[in-house]
Symmetry: C2
Subunit: 312 residues, 2 copies
């Protein structure tokens, strides 16, 4: 079953791809086997992570970049990560708008990923989904994150090239340092560059970048775009390609892949350990009982965990 699915997704069948991504997202039983089949076929796609403040125009930028790559003949996968909708699950609105411009093109695969509860790690599922699209023959996989929290940063860090999008004014630059995304940007974009304050934003960004300590010798370029008018998209693609070439050479590329692999193993391990624990007979029920005891202040959380670990 999983074998057949892997064969179909490696041929690039969209339905097989969609089903495979759902499997890793839900963390179904067959997903480890699926990923074992997918993994050896990965490594051909260029994975581009795009993050930035809400309102920076990330979605338009992703759409225009995708159109640009399509014109060059590339197959494009887009994963929009929307981690923080624990109740409703996903950015349906954004999807619908995006489908109108790109969705009819059979060489573009679009998928939103949202949280499915605490057990299924979103970051892990996203990285698996990227691997699936990579193995399925997509030349570029763009991962767009909606939020700017820790998970998003981790997800973007797993890309080959990380792009940080800012806008002029609004003190967004300062916010960006706060959110710690300055350190992860390989390429910076000032979008909505037809607005007032572009020069100031660029100066501020340059100053901030000169303060940031990167572990390599890359000097992150700043690209100005007006995504809604398709301006600057070619420059952006050029900057992405430059960094991709830079990091592919020699030790730097391997070091980056090694640290991504380690992070990925930790995510998987964490998920596996807690899943194994909760599948023990009675543990899930005990957790519920203990939660009530903690809520009623009859026990503290640390003692509760110790009693849980002792009994299982």
């Amino acid at each position: 079953m999983s074998h057949e699915l892997v064969a179909r997704l490696l041929k690039g069948e969209p339905r097989a791809i969609a089903r495979s991504i759902s499997m890793v997202e839900d963390g179904t039983e067959g997903s480890p086997d699926l990923m074992k089949g997918v993994f050896p076929k990965t490594g051909n796609a260029v994975v581009i992570g795009i993050t930035g403040s809400p309102g920076a125009g990330k979605s338009s930028l992703v759409d225009k970049l995708a159109l640009f790559y399509r014109k060059r003949g590339d197959k494009i996968g887009i994963i929009a990560v929307d981690p923080s909708s624990p109740f409703s699950g996903g950015a349906i609105l954004g999807d619908r708008i995006r489908m109108q411009t790109l969705g009819l093109d059979p060489n573009v695969f679009i998928r939103s990923m949202a949280t499915r509860g605490k057990l299924g790690g979103l970051a892990r599922a996203t990285v698996d989904a990227v691997a699936i699209l990579d193995a399925a023959g997509y030349d570029k996989v763009i991962v767009e994150t909606v939020g700017v929290g820790q998970d998003e940063v981790e997800i973007v860090k797993t890309a080959d090239v990380s792009v940080v999008v800012l806008v002029p004014g609004m003190g967004d630059d300062i916010q960006a340092i706060k959110a710690g995304i300055m350190e992860i940007g390989d390429v910076f974009v000032i979008n909505k560059a037809d607005r007032e304050g572009v020069i100031r934003a660029e100066k501020e960004l340059e100053a901030l970048l000169s303060l940031a300590h990167r572990n390599d010798f890359w000097d992150p370029p700043i690209v100005k775009t007006v995504a809604t008018e398709s301006k600057g998209i070619e420059d952006l693609a050029g900057a992405i390609e430059s960094f991709y070439e830079y990091q592919s050479t020699g030790e730097k590329g391997l070091e980056r892949r090694r640290s991504i692999a380690k992070w990925r193993l930790m995510e998987l391990l964490q998920e596996r350990l807690i899943r194994d624990m909760l599948s023990n007979n009675g543990t899930a029920e005990m957790l519920e009982d203990l939660a009530l005891e903690v809520a009623e202040k009859r026990q503290d959380p640390y003692s509760a965990i110790e009693s849980l670990l002792a009994k299982s």
Copy 2:
């Protein structure tokens, strides 16, 4: 040692409080014992979580709300959560500005919390820090999150009252749905309400709230503020108090506390399991080796985890 520290923090000694928070942040060996001592003394503080888009003016709002409570004689704890600075660790700039307005008041305790690497769960550490301030006699504990990702949403959900801050214009409202923070707001603030577009923002927010499905019968109030001019702060305090009173009564409050307790137990369990695993002889080294094998594509991550679990 931990006993003496607990005694001092329960007396409200700032240095003991600061040291205790550092312990739970670093996840030092003594922290479970510390928290066992702290837990029975908690439950008196009103915990207020404040989140919202970058640039919405959360920090000013928090400062003005703190000043308002100070005038009423309350002791105030402020925790600024900045989850996504994996390299530099923390919002030093924001702290420095804040210290100028509030930092000299001995009845205000301010602390920033940032990520300390993958093992120490930031959300867990933040909730522990809140408990420490609660036990130390702070009447209000305000938790301000800088990002808008999954961790931030989880942290804000553990508060007694969750406040979501928006600004007029910029399409922030739409961004707010995407980031899934609509569902967690008990109170909504439109800050910078002297700007153009306030009425439209309010209408949009009302429309969105009427679509959101809450599990209770609370109708979240919308408060308009201009934090920089201290306008609307009393209204905000009133709205916070109303929800606090509403949710304290009957089953609703217990249900909320139970689900927070469950989340907290899961966080602790996850952290404990992976820590125990990695403290096994040779496991950490094996993980490093496996990471390299995965990076060089000699093994897939899922098989790597299985071999790790099999050997330990």
